[in-house]
């Protein structure tokens, strides 16, 4: 009996895990699994697009803590031992030439940079004398509290609707061999769920002088 319950439990856990894997949601078992370091470190999606009404500006987004219900969102926080780091390669070698480092402490958020990092790769330190932009973390249910800087940078940090959409459940059934194709209409597995967002808008000239950049995000803890 015990064994049967255990088997069922493991089966259910596998099913849940299978269903909730997404764009990158819950794809960091070392962070969110048993003994994980912090839910606040699980990246869900990143975005990069130019300001729709000013193409001299770029918007970079880094989302964490996916699949939150409204109730969970009301008490969600950014981790204060975490660096949320946007990495920019502007020479085409996939090594970061610039970073923007977000820190959240006492309900304030600071975005340091962009600046040339002291070192590249897995370990990062904050360049404390780098230019930074600061604002208050926007509480749930409150209008966005935008931080601005005279250098043209704007930042936001707080809960937002998860912009990602995907019939993930059906995709998993296809991979599992129980379905052969998508349904129409599909069912958005992310409907009604929220994320914690970090958003920055800055002049493109701060990112590089070439035709393109490569952009990725990392969460790092101390």
């Amino acid at each position: 009996m015990k064994k049967k319950i255990l088997t069922t439990l493991i089966g259910c856990m596998a099913l849940v895990a299978g269903i909730i894997y997404a764009a990158d949601h819950i794809d960091a078992p070392g962070v969110t699994g048993p003994g994980g370091t912090s839910m606040g470190n699980d990246l869900t999606d990143i975005y990069a697009f130019q300001n729709p009404s000013d193409n001299s500006k770029m918007v970079l987004v880094c989302n964490v803590q996916g699949l939150m219900s409204p109730t969970a969102t009301a008490s969600a926080k950014f981790a204060n031992n975490t660096m949320y780091e946007m990495n920019i390669d502007n020479t085409g070698d996939n090594v970061e030439d610039l970073v923007i480092q977000f820190l959240v402490q006492n309900n304030k958020v600071r975005a340091y940079g962009p600046f040339t990092p002291l070192s590249t790769g897995m370990a990062s330190t904050v360049k404390a004398d780098a230019v930074y932009t600061e604002t208050t973390v926007t509480p749930y249910g409150t209008a966005p509290i935008v931080g601005t800087n005279t250098n043209g940078i704007k930042i936001f940090a707080g809960p937002r609707d998860d912009p990602f959409f995907f019939d993930l459940a059906r995709f998993k059934e296809i991979l599992g061999g129980t379905q052969t194709g998508f349904r129409n209409p599909g069912v958005d597995a992310f409907a009604g769920t929220n994320v914690m967002s970090l958003v920055i808008e800055l002049p493109k000239s701060m990112l590089g002088t070439g035709a393109s950049i490569n952009y990725w995000c990392e969460t790092k803890t101390k």
Partner: protein, 173 residues
């Protein structure tokens, strides 16, 4: 003279105090070394192409090392999907190489979109149907016409309207 000096000192003191009051977070702790936990760029890459036993490893691999460490895994997944070539004309090896280095290519000089019918992989806008683009490239074959039941998920937009100004993402539910 003495009085104005006093007055100035007093004013300077007030100014200093009010600065501190306006910026209580002046004492941000910037000490220490932060070590990597998670990494991502393109949507669903780790999800689809990396098996559970190696997900943490992928998250703690820097982009320049991803090709060497994970390209074979990516090719094997493409093989299991019956991949031959795609609408970008990429062989399995070429497509695996593109995907395995998990960075988002972003144009500084033109449209910024995952795919808008013309531009491909020049950014990622909030409304981009990135999953359909990836499904098409994985399952659609050289003309995007193969496996029509697998090349779109029929969820074509977000469940909330995006804002037209900063911060662009919609308010939470």
């Amino acid at each position: 003279m003495k009085l104005s000096f006093f007055f100035l000192t007093f004013m300077a003191g007030s100014f200093f105090i009010s600065c501190k009051d306006d910026k209580p977070a002046e004492n941000f702790d910037t000490s220490g070394t932060y070590l990597q936990n998670d990494q991502m760029a393109r949507p669903a890459i780790n999800t689809v192409f990396v098996g559970a036993p190696r997900k943490n490893e992928f998250n703690t691999t820097i982009p320049t090392s991803m090709n060497g460490a994970f390209k074979t895994d990516f090719e094997n997944v493409l093989t299991s999907f019956g991949y031959t070539t795609n609408a970008l004309g990429q062989t399995k090896s070429q497509f695996a190489s593109l995907l395995v280095t998990d960075v988002l290519n972003v144009s500084l000089t033109g449209a910024t979109t995952f795919f808008d019918g013309t531009n491909v992989l020049t950014g990622r806008a909030l409304a981009d149907d990135v999953i359909d683009t990836e499904l098409l490239l994985i399952f659609g074959g050289p003309a995007g016409t193969l496996n029509p039941g697998l090349t779109k998920d029929n969820v074509n937009a977000n469940d909330k309207v995006f804002l037209t100004s900063f911060p662009y993402l919609a308010a939470p539910f």
